[in-house]
Symmetry: C2
């Protein structure tokens, strides 16, 4: 089976609703992480599309986002048919998104395979990623099966869910495939260390592959209320109808992991050592960026005296540093963040503080 | 002799030509330190004037600055007669300034006493300062005498000149007066430590008192070339004439300390424990400002998480800090400085670097 034919019924479902508070002040409610140009010249969302466009044609790619981002994203992606970009009228996490996406794709193509892709990650080895997707699609072609790309852990991360591998299933299209024994929630540090050391656990990065029909059956079985809402939307004309706008907020707010993945058993993992990174903080952007001879990363003009290992982001201002080290400095038109690299995962706390202060203008 | 009568012939000569690179990016060539509002609601220059206005009427106060600052200063001081604010056509340090000031004042009032005041210092005890000036003026009324306010050293500062006290002369208007044995240049640290420990040395902060006629005689004797230029300017109509603009650049660039003070012997010091500070760096502004419970000083809006002992200056932006300590952060429309408090005396080096880079727009 050639790659082309594997992907004939594949539909990209790009999840682009994230609010991305961790890159404040550059990220805002209307300009979240997936729209930021943190690496190279493309936003993470554009990079996500560029990564799958060699294998999935644009008219088979759907983007789901929050309604307030719809116009921005349509402008950013002029080559994607605008009626394949959906703005959800309320944030309900991933399960409702994927349920309505499955309904839309199954209606269009009863053989349709969903390739679920978060829009705010980077993958250093895109060609390998595409070959692994081909294997995953082949596994998922069989009705009833779900597949997850299992990302090779590089550290005992406590912010991710893990996949516990079961029996090896052999090779598909040259790639190892395992049965998945269980999905786990975010572990404590000691547990995460055991997971990584064991070699039996992979990270769940939210990259799933299944037939739309399979997912709809799983919703019918494990989330009948949600399945009922999906049917109501379908009967009223689908996700482009006014009914969709009215009914969508009625969905429970729940992730696909909780709603479905932790409940099903006919599920497989394709281990993927693809240089995946979810780019969770400014410190990660620093690590992944080109550092100068002093270990500084600078986006914008300026100079540093006796300063090492800093991340300096200033689109407009001339930034001078003297004697500082291991800091993150991010400047926008209305705000300035100065934070140690070590504490950059706490930027979200600052955003919560802004919410408490009612500074919606800065969110 | 009442204070009023002591000051009858006193003329304030405020030196406001400094370029103030140490407060970059807030200070600029056209907006130097003396024009900054670092404390309270007034600039250092306005505070300098407010300090002497109870004893010297506005029409007896002269301000000497650089020509490019003339309009800014006239706008800042609308109540001072604008023809008492002079813009020097070239920067020639303090000796030429005081020579032409002496000529102007002697012409206006043959008994005129000059009270020379740098414009970029703070004095915590202004009432005591004025009483000490009264004593200094009484000493200086005698022809031939020069007087300096000797500032009580609080640390072995290597950036100032020191005054070595000679014989005690007794009290004048209730204040101690000493003969000055010598003026010294900026000492090395070990020397400065000896000076401070000895109790025989005071700081020279550039606050001088003498009759204009006395200073002119001293120029005639020790700097005859400069005295000749002063006479030429006087013959052509004084410092308001076109000739002034043409001749002033011909002056040697030299401080009053080198040109005159280190050469004369009829010189007296009035020790002054007046809470004097020359505000030499952002670290000093931090020390002198009101700190919040975390030891942070903030000018502008924002909040800090787990951040201590920082100086945050942002007139326009919302500044958030996380986990930082002992930093200086200063933001303007076009530039941003992030510097450790410890290294804030090196801001001048950054300005030199900007000069080398040809970034006149940022100077």
């Amino acid at each position: 089976m050639a790659i082309d034919s594997v992907f004939k019924h594949a539909y990209g479902v790009v999840i682009a609703g994230g609010s991305g508070t961790r890159f404040w002040p550059l990220s805002r409610r209307r300009h979240p992480k997936q729209l930021l140009t943190l690496f190279g010249r493309q936003s993470l969302l554009e990079q996500t599309l560029a990564r799958i466009q060699p294998i999935i044609p644009s008219n088979q790619i759907y983007i789901f986002t929050r309604a307030p981002l719809l116009q921005n994203i349509r402008r950013l992606l002029p080559r994607l048919p605008s009626n394949q970009i959906f703005g959800e009228p309320a944030s309900r996490n991933t399960a409702p998104t994927l349920a309505v996406a499955a309904q839309e794709i199954a209606r269009r193509d009863p053989e349709g395979l969903m390739v679920v892709l978060p829009s705010d990650q980077i993958i250093a080895k895109p060609a390998l990623f595409r070959r692994l997707l081909a294997a995953a699609c082949r596994v998922a072609t069989e009705p009833g099966r779900s597949v997850v790309l299992g990302l090779k852990p590089t550290r005992p991360e406590t912010g991710f869910g893990y996949i516990r591998l079961g029996r090896r299933q052999g090779r598909v299209a040259g790639r190892e495939v395992f049965h998945v024994e269980s999905f786990t929630e975010k572990p404590a540090l000691a547990v995460a260390r055991r997971y990584v050391a064991s070699g039996r656990y992979l990270w769940n990065g939210g990259i799933f592959i299944w037939k739309a029909a399979t997912l709809l059956e799983n919703f019918q079985r494990f989330q009948p209320d949600m399945a009922g809402l999906v049917r109501q939307i379908a009967d009223a004309g689908g996700i482009r109808s006014q009914v969709f706008r009215r009914l969508y907020p009625k969905f429970q707010k729940i992730s696909i992991d909780f709603a479905i993945m932790e409940k099903i058993s006919d599920i497989y993992a394709v281990p993927a050592d693809i240089g995946w990174n979810d780019v969770g903080s400014w410190a990660v952007v620093y690590e992944l960026s080109r550092q100068d001879s002093e270990g500084n990363v600078r986006s914008g003009v300026g100079f540093s005296l006796d300063s090492q290992h800093n991340m300096l982001v200033s689109p407009k201002k001339f930034v001078v540093t003297i004697g500082i080290h291991d800091l993150v400095v991010v400047e926008t038109d209305d705000a300035l963040l100065v934070c140690t690299r070590e504490r950059s995962q706490d930027v979200g706390k600052a955003v919560q503080q802004l919410e408490r202060l009612g500074r919606d203008d800065l969110l």
